[in-house]
Every structure is written in structure tokens, then in C-alpha cells.
């Protein structure tokens, strides 16, 4: 089956960003327009306003095909153009240049609860939401019972949804959307809601749609786990361009591991904050900046940041994530022995060592934060650095390079035992515990 369900050719989308000196950016009032009218008339209808506005390309020359029955994932960091692409496919916004051809009825599963009205009852909202998503009234009526059963809100159908718990609200919204019947399904970040059990149910539903029913699915998400489960092929967008296409595992690795083409050192652009990062870098034991480390090599993480005024309780911390974006561990300067204070104004230079034989081979990323415990976040640099741990001969790692074996290099003591296993004594610990708990 090699029919094309969706074909995108040289798609680009640009936005004009206005640099306004005052007022809310983006909103123009009639007054502003009138005041600048004479100037704009002189400069040929504002076409020469280069000094105050610039063109930003949210998508640049994107081309790819999606085959019928394929589940394609689209990943990329914030601002990579994922949402813009999906919006164009959904006809919410128009491309600047390029073309899209869609073969079959396309339906979108966007942020859940779009179009829910708080004053209306659950029943009324099912119809409203269904119609907004493109269902006919008769179609909704036919699926109504199924939707309600899926959402598990039977008892509250005639209550305004503003009185729903957020869980119920989300369940109902997802249920409506999940019962859409398009041939091509566009899904955006829907799983970021609901309790864990419902998330599982949603994912299963989507898996059914994508794999068993043979529908074409385009799935845009930050949830790498869900992407890995649902999609066979992935596209990585970076700065509006297709950076990589291929099997999900490879593309995901390129996205989060990204070690091959990412610099080991970064100078950060300063932000408007009382404390902000200046620099971060990763170094091997030889003192060289690097993104590749052997399993037995310690990682030296250096960072510098500026504190404008003394901030009581300020802490530097970092987290390490695996290729799926799961957090592996967290460490904060408050754990330092002896204690280090970074509260004072001025520039601080701090180093942290992640020991060798701690992480298994794979791709990792590091996020850095400046914050006061549980109160204020001054600066957060998500996935600022990334690195790759590779197996080395010296630590006798068996060389399997997958990320699937876990992340923790456990210091397991292996030995041969010649004796037979000691038998548990008949009146031993287990039964004592059991009787004690009764």
C-alpha cells in the first residue's frame, strides 16, 4: 500500500513581527494606524517599514509525503514550527507559499475541550463540540452513548460543565474528539491532560486508530513516549525546516540526544531576570569540551551565571533526561558538601561532576535552573546541553548501544556461588511478617 494520503510541497509560512517601542506587541489600535497613516502613505503603504518589523519564517520549504495508513510523528523543540504546520494542515491558517494536497477526509484532534461552553450541560457540549469538530448532528446522535460511556460521565450529563471536575471535563472532551471518524487524523498534544489511568486509555484508543484500523495519523507531540508507541516514522523540525526524517527511534535520538551536531559549550543570551545563566559546558577528564563520554568517564559540567542583587536562598540545579525526555536524576547546589553559597550579587562560576560508571550508554540532555526552593524560578534552560555516553572496552560494557537497556549503571557485584542456595527456614521471616500484619 503506497498511496499517498497527504503530500506537502515546499511549504513555507512567514510572520511579520512588529517591533513596537511601547504598548502591547501585536495589537494595533485604530489610533495607531491613523497616527502612522501619513508616514505610511509616504513610504508607499508601509512597505518600507523594515526598521520596525522583520519577517520570521515559522516554516521554511517543508516537503514530505505521508502514506495512507501510516502513523507519522512530528517532533521538535518549542518554536520549531510543529504547531504552525499542523495549523496549516487544519486550514486554521494559510501558508505563505507552497502547497498541500490531502487525499481523504481529514479531521483534527486538537487541544481537548476546544469549543466547550462552561454554561452548557455535558449533553449540549457533546453536540456543540462534535459539530465544531465537523460531525453532523445525526452522526453525533448515533455515537452519543458510546462517547458518554467512554468518558464515564453518565451521571453528570445534565449538569453545566463549569461544575465538572477538570478530570471529567477532559474525559468528555477527549471522548468526543476520539469518536471523530476521519480517514486522516491530525493529533496535537492531547495527552498532556487527565489522570494517568485516563491517559493510558487515550493512548490505547489512539493506538487502535493508528495501528488496527489502518488510518493515517499525524501526531505532533512533546510526549516522546507516546510518539515511540504510536508512530513508525518521524519527522524532526528544527527552526522551521525538516532536520531529519526516518525511523522513530533514529529521529527521536537525533532530537533529544542530538549529540552529533550540538556544541558542548553554550553562551546564553541574557534574559530579564535577577539571576540568569551566562554559560554552560561539558568537559571530559582531560579538560576538553566534549559531548561524547565513555561509561567510566566522569562528566564535568561547568556553568556561570550572573546575580544582579543578593537573592536569599538562590540555588543552582540541574536535571538529566534520557532520550525520551524522562528525568533520570536531579541535583542541586544545596546538596554540596561543604556548602556553597551563590546568593551574593556578581558572577558565579560553578562546576559539578557527574561520576563515571553512573549512566549506561545512550543519549542524554541536561536542563539547568536558577531558583529559590519552591518559590521562584529565575532562569530555566531546558535541554540546554546534551551528551552521549558510549560503551568502552575498559569498563567491559558488552557494547550494546541501544537506549532501551535503561540508564543507570548499577554497581552490581557479580560472583560465582558454588554452594547451593540456602533454603528458607520453614518458620521463617515471611510468615512472621504476614501474621504480624494481620
Amino acid at each position: 500500500m503506497s498511496q499517498v494520503a497527504l503530500s506537502i510541497q515546499n511549504l513555507s509560512k512567514s510572520f511579520r513581527i512588529a517591533h513596537q517601542r511601547e504598548g502591547l506587541p501585536g495589537y494595533k489600535t485604530l489610533h495607531d494606524e491613523l497616527m502612522t497613516l501619513p508616514r505610511r502613505l509616504i513610504t508607499r503603504f508601509g512597505r518600507n517599514e523594515r526598521s520596525t518589523s522583520e519577517i520570521f519564517w515559522a516554516l521554511k520549504d517543508v516537503s514530505f509525503d505521508v502514506k495512507a495508513g501510516e502513523a507519522l510523528g512530528i517532533i521538535g523543540s518549542n518554536g520549531a514550527g510543529k504547531s504552525t504546520l499542523l495549523k496549516i494542515l487544519n486550514r486554521i491558517t494559510e501558508p505563505t507559499t507552497g502547497a498541500v494536497d490531502i487525499y481523504g477526509r481529514a479531521g483534527a484532534l486538537l487541544e481537548v475541550g476546544t469549543g466547550f461552553h462552561p454554561e452548557l450541560t455535558g449533553r449540549e457540549n457533546v453536540f456543540l463540540n462534535g459539530a465544531i469538530l465537523g460531525m453532523k448532528r445525526a452522526e453525533i446522535r448515533r455515537k452519543f452513548d458510546e462517547i458518554v460511556a467512554f468518558a464515564e460521565v453518565e451521571k453528570f450529563l445534565d449538569m453545566p460543565v463549569k461544575r465538572y471536575s477538570s478530570g471529567m471535563y477532559v474525559r468528555l472532551a477527549f471522548a468526543v474528539a476520539a469518536h471523530l471518524d476521519p480517514e486522516i487524523l491530525l493529533i496535537d498534544e492531547v495527552l498532556a491532560v487527565g489522570d494517568a489511568e485516563f491517559q493510558k486509555k487515550c493512548l490505547e484508543k489512539m493506538e487502535t486508530v493508528a495501528t488496527k484500523e489502518g488510518r493515517t495519523v499525524i501526531f505532533v507531540s512533546h510526549d516522546i513516549d507516546a510518539i515511540c508507541r504510536l508512530c513508525s516514522r518521524c519527522i524532526l523540525l528544527r527552526h522551521g525546516e525538516v532536520a531529519k526524517t526516518g525511523k522513530t527511534a533514529d529521529v527521536v535520538a537525533a532530537y533529544l540526544g542530538g549529540a552529533q551536531d550540538q556544541a558542548p559549550e553554550i553562551n546564553f543570551a541574557t534574559i530579564e531576570s535577577q539571576a540568569s545563566f551566562r554559560f554552560a559546558g561539558l568537559y571530559n577528564p582531560k579538560g576538553q569540551a566534549s559531548t561524547f563520554f565513555g561509561t567510566d568517564e566522569p562528566l564535568l559540567l561547568k556553568s556561570s551565571f550572573a546575580v544582579r542583587r543578593q537573592i536569599e536562598g538562590l540555588q543552582l540545579s540541574f536535571s538529566v533526561f534520557n532520550f525520551k525526555g524522562d528525568q533520570i536524576f536531579y541535583s542541586s547546589i544545596s546538596m554540596a558538601q561543604p556548602a556553597i553559597s551563590v546568593e551574593g550579587a556578581g558572577e558565579h562560576y560553578i562546576a559539578a561532576v557527574i561520576p563515571g560508571r553512573f549512566l549506561l550508554p545512550g543519549n542524554y540532555s541536561i536542563s539547568l535552573a536558577l531558583h529559590t526552593p519552591k518559590t521562584k524560578l529565575y532562569d530555566l534552560r531546558e535541554h540546554a546541553l546534551s551528551f552521549r555516553i558510549v560503551g568502552t572496552v575498559t569498563d567491559r560494557y558488552d557494547g550494546f548501544a541501544g537506549d532501551e537497556l535503561g540508564q543507570i549503571y548499577a554497581d552490581v557485584k557479580w560472583r560465582r556461588t558454588d554452594e547451593r542456595q540456602p533454603q528458607p527456614s520453614p518458620g521463617g521471616g515471611v510468615s512472621t511478617l504476614a501474621s504480624a500484619s494481620r
Binding site: 495512507a68 495508513g69 501558508p95 498541500v100 487525499y103 476546544t114 456543540l128 458510546e146 484500523e213
Partner: protein, 308 residues
Amino acid sequence: MSTFSTLPPVSSEPSSAIAYAEPQPTAIAAVRRDSEPTLRIRPTKGWAALNIRELWNYRDLLWILVERNIKVIYKQTALGIGWVALQPLIAAVTLAVVFGRVAKLPSDGVPYLLFVFCGLTAWRYFSETAQRSNSSLVNNAQLVSKVYFPRMLIPLSHTFSTLVDFAVMLVMVFIFMAVYRVPPTLRLAAIPGFLLLTAMTATGVAFWFSALSVKYRDCNYALPFFLQIWFYVSPIIYATSTSVSPRWQTLFALNPLVGIVEGFRWSVLGRSALNPSIFWVTVAMSVIALLSGAFFFRRVERDFADII
């Protein structure tokens, strides 16, 4: 609740999967082979077609939006639908006292209260539609920026939902007629026609203002003043025949509300004749209002999601 006792338990998921039918993929593939794309997305420029067919395809959504508007507007108010009757009544009494009693404006030989209420019926349908749809796109920003559907449906839904207000006022007109013993005439049959003209004008204005307010929030503040001025340049508290010299009446009728309000009074009160030139100018102006609004809306709607 009894409806749901017959529901199968939640574990009936497999049956939901069956609803999608297994053989579908092959069916889809067969249809798709060598066929034209179902949908082409291309950048558009300049004026766009009105695409009435698409509006028609989305009629289910239009009705549901209309239903929503009606249900929501007076929710959590003690008087509920009573407001629909109360608002024009209070307005009419106020106007009758000020302009009928104090200023003693002529009212074509009918009681001033009935005279003014007649005009208000047409006027309020127009102004309520314009006012409610003005901020409708901005209020539904979440929808506009997340889902595709013909955006015209949002202002258009108010044209229809305000009909409820109109119906209530019309019933009140009949009550007033009974109270003041004004005999009904065959001219009442013309009311739907004048209602159509009002709806066209109101929708045209609604298209203009709702589309403009996506970019310029000023419209929220400008429209009330605009409507206030419009109210006084329309013959609601006075009659065109007595207050405007015949030479200027055709020019005066460039305001479509002139013909509409006069037309309503003509069909309800059955007094003075309707000036034909006023009538035809009004018809032309309503068509112009509707079409210009619709084309302007179509032209700017492609940017809504980006700037709303």
C-alpha cells in the same frame, strides 16, 4: 438516568472499534488511487469567493451555535427570557415619556408608545445582532485559532439567535395593537420581507465589525457610539414623512434603517403610505451592506488565526 441504565458497561470497547469497521482501509485505498486530492491547500490572495456551498455544508454547526447563543445569553439570571421583553419595554416607555410627552413629537396619528415600539422592534433586532456579533469572533478566539470551519458562521449565528428577541417583541407589538385597538391589515404579511431586509443589513454590519474587531479592539468601544448615532438618524422616535423634507427623503434613505423602520410601521400601523423610492433604495442598501460585509470578511478571515 434511566436512559443510561440500558447502556452496555464500559468494557464494551471492542464494539466501539467495530463501529469503525475493519475493511475500511482497503476501501479508502481503493477510492484514493489516482484520484484528485480531496482538499488542496494553497496560499490565497486578494478577494475570495463567498463559498456558499461550504456554509451550507456546515449548517448543522450553524444551528448548534445558534442554539448555544440562545441558551447561554440569559443563563444564571433570575428573569431569564423575561429580559427579552423587559428591555425594549423599558426603552419604549422612556422614549415615549421623553419624546412623546415632553417633546411632543408627532407620531402619525397613533399613540406614541405604539409608534415608538414599532420602530424599536426593527431597530433592536438590528442593533442587538450587530452588538452581539461585534465581539463574537474575539470571544470565540479559542475556536478560531484551533479549529477550521467557515468563520462567517460565528457572526451569522447571532443573526439567527436574535430572532428569538425579535419574535418576543413582535408578540408584544400585537399585544399593543390589541390594547390600542389598532386593527390588523393584510400589510402584516409584509413583515417577513422587512425582517429579511433587517437581517441582511444587520449581518452586513456584523461582518464588517466582527472582522474589524479581530484586528482593532477599538470596535468594542466604537460600536455603541456608532449605534447611538445611528439610532437618532433613523426614524424611530420621529416619522420620515413629518420630519424630513420630501426633497431629502431619498438621500435620507441611504441609511437602510429608514426604509426598514418605516416599512415595519407601514405594515403594522397601516397608516401613511410607503414612499417607493425609499423602499427601493433600502433594498439596494441592504444588499450592498450584506455583500460588502461578506466579501470584506472573506478577504480578511485568512489572517484571523494569526492575529486574534
